[in-house]
Symmetry: C2
Subunit: 400 residues, 2 copies
DNA sequence: CGATTCTAGTCAGGAGCCTTGCCTGGAACG
DNA sequence: CGTTCCAGGCAAGGCTCCTGACTAGAATCG
């Protein structure tokens, strides 16, 4: 498919990638351990380590503990150099902003959060975002007390491959450059720009905000923004295990309405990133009328006065569950018709509570599909963002 | 990502793949031309040709015409050996069955067709499928009059990598083994088995049929079956040009109802392959009632008596176009909500005729999306099947 | 018609990446 | 204190690629 001309170099790059990925899994290994783990010869492993150390990606940890099973000569342990950088995982919702800095191993090395009183204004949220980003930049990571690192190759000098603004140095005190940021926002996200978009009549919780502009000064690399439901769906997929759930829909029913569609194992975002914006989907309204999903909540008086959000408390206490169940059933029918999922997963603050009502209305569905509540309930969005951030960081390191 | 251990062999396979793909584009080249076309050295090109000839994939054409610009020594031209095989492109519809045999360059080397009187019974269609497959197997290809080929290496002896039934020899008289078959059927197709499935109340034109079982004896490789609308959408995508249309929906409105969804440049098939089965989608029915799309046609008396097909002629002459337009508009609203297409392409025997009515009803849509008639009108399904068959054949040849 | 020109293909030499096999150094075991 | 065991380095060899020089043979020129 794509040409790879300088050929022998290709083999070397495969080897180096193998070494890097193996050290991402095992944290620290001797060259002999690397060789047997990867399945290459010791000289090859040694050469690769030498190259990668020279590029500043690997470092001798200084440890000289005996290799593995007690006997034998002590080995030199190598690990990824802290200079490979870190990732930012950020969630933005109306309740507040949470940001974490992750290292290559997926560990959270720093965390910052800001709560915001409801109703939140967009400028408050932007300020909170800026605050957590600044706090994480200034916070020293907990590790890096391992001892002096000798290999101080040309680090950071030749690494500006994204042309971002370099005024504010995008690194914490510990030298952990932030190479990638992955952001969740509780509103629809434009795929190309990363800006939040306000769809007419839809809940708009976070409000007009450009996370890329706010975070770019803190990141020496890409800033990825997507809808919170998409990230939650990714976490749900990963929680099931590899290949377990390649085609499903994640229906989020809370203050906002959202839906993620996973097809062939990947989130499907569509042209503008607005796949799964179900607010305007036509479904079964009161009296069997064809009604837009979002209009139902207006008709039933279930939206917060003055805002676009759904009043979850009132919904759970006073609403006609049969009517709601029928409407959600219509949405599920559309999902089955157009996305053909293996399962429909229901999440959000009120969706799982109405699961029975939804199920009993699913007779509209053209065929039987499992409808179940989300398995991850703790912080599914943050889990998905973390996984994506870690993935992006590792890809950025491995791919040159 | 995926491990590739025996490493230097990887470089060689890249080179060989390059040579094969280049000869698929240029039909015949000397070793020197190959080298400069690919950007490798002459000795490397020569070695690769030697290897591939030994494996029976390449053959000296016997031509000794001077190389290119008149002067100089004459070169030996090499081309893909006819033994690399051919592909079958098959379309199955209620009107009849068409099958073509394609060579590796995408040329149609043989064609067979059977028309069937309406209404067609499944056994008639199965018989027609068997008939065209047999006819194509027995027909000699038009080429292969080029002269004696000397390099008669071990061909076909070590090539049975699919374990298919070898009773009926899956090759025509010219030795062109059929390595892959791509089949279109005018009904929903189960992704895993390739069988046609009957969804309750939906049009079922071809009827219960197992194309894989019928065609397997004729094919020394995979038989791929999919819905005709999906293939038409692929042809539409390719007709626009690379990267032009990565996210769109193809709405087929004819005797049957179908919809293909292309996302990130690929057809999305879903868990069972029933993505886009819009018959049971809830839309706007007469009087604003929430109605399943397919039920509308029953209510309006637009289905053929005794069958499940839609009566297109009556629809075009007598039906209430505003009602139909509104219903289709509701379907488009669902497509926009759940698939976020760049465009919605309308095809089929009656869809384009109602384009204005559909457009004027698209006020239900949450945002403006281009709605247009299909650009390919000739034989879009066959075009898509051909492209897929050619692709599969080439992949089968290159990938070992 | 012979000399010249031009190109396809081959050969020799060398570089890079990998492997196997052997040797050395040094810690732990008994 | 000798034995055992393992990390790491070295040497030799194989495979793939490349460059540059050479050979072979047809078309063109004078």
């Amino acid at each position: 498919m794509d040409s790879a001309k300088p050929s022998l170099e290709l083999v070397r790059s495969v080897t180096d990638e193998h070494v890097l990925r193996t050290l991402m899994r095992h944290r620290r290994l001797t060259r002999a351990e690397l060789a047997s783990e990867i399945g290459i010869s010791k000289p090859t492993a040694g050469e690769s380590v030498r190259r990668l150390t020279e590029r500043g990606l690997l470092a001798d940890t200084g440890e000289r503990t005996p290799g593995g099973r007690g006997r034998g000569r002590v080995g030199s342990y190598y690990a990824l150099d802290p200079g490979v950088g870190a990732a930012l995982a950020v969630t933005i919702a109306a309740e507040g902003v949470v940001a974490e800095r992750l290292d290559v191993y997926g560990d959270t090395v720093a965390r910052a959060a800001r709560q915001i009183d409801r109703p939140a204004r967009p400028d408050q949220i932007a300020a909170a975002l800026l605050a957590v980003a600044t706090e994480l930049r200034d916070a020293a990571g907990p590790r890096d007390a391992a001892g002096p690192r000798d290999a101080t190759g040309p680090r950071g000098a030749t690494n500006s491959r994204d042309g971002g603004p370099r005024d504010a140095e995008p690194r914490g005190d510990d030298g952990q450059t932030v190479r990638v940021a992955v952001v969740s926002a509780a509103d629809p996200v434009d795929r190309a720009s990363g800006r939040l978009v306000h769809l007419p009549d839809s809940p708009f919780l976070v409000g007009d905000l450009d996370p890329v502009a706010v975070l770019a000064p803190f990141v020496d690399g890409a800033v990825v923004v997507d809808n919170d439901v998409n990230w939650a769906a990714l976490a749900e997929r990963d929680s099931v295990g590899a290949d377990g759930l390649r085609d499903f829909a994640y229906l989020y029913l809370g203050e906002g309405l959202g839906c993620a569609i996973v097809n062939d194992g990947e989130i499907r975002r569509g042209r503008t990133g607005l796949t799964g914006e179900i607010a305007h989907l036509i479904t079964i309204g009161p009296g069997g009328r064809a009604t837009r999903f979002i209009e139902l909540f207006g008709e039933l008086g279930l939206r917060h006065a003055g805002t676009t959000a759904i009043d979850v408390e009132r919904l759970l206490t006073t609403a006609d569950r049969a009517v709601l169940g029928a409407a959600v059933g219509g949405v599920i029918a559309a999902l089955i018709a157009l996305a053909d999922p293996q399962e429909v997963v229901i999440g959000g603050s009120w969706g799982p509570a109405l699961l029975d009502d939804i199920r009993s209305a699913a007779t509209w569905a053209p065929r039987d599909v499992t409808v179940r509540a989300a398995g991850l309930t703790e912080t599914p969005v943050l889990a998905g963002v973390r996984a994506a951030a870690l993935n992006s960081l590792r890809r950025a390191i491995v791919g040159r």
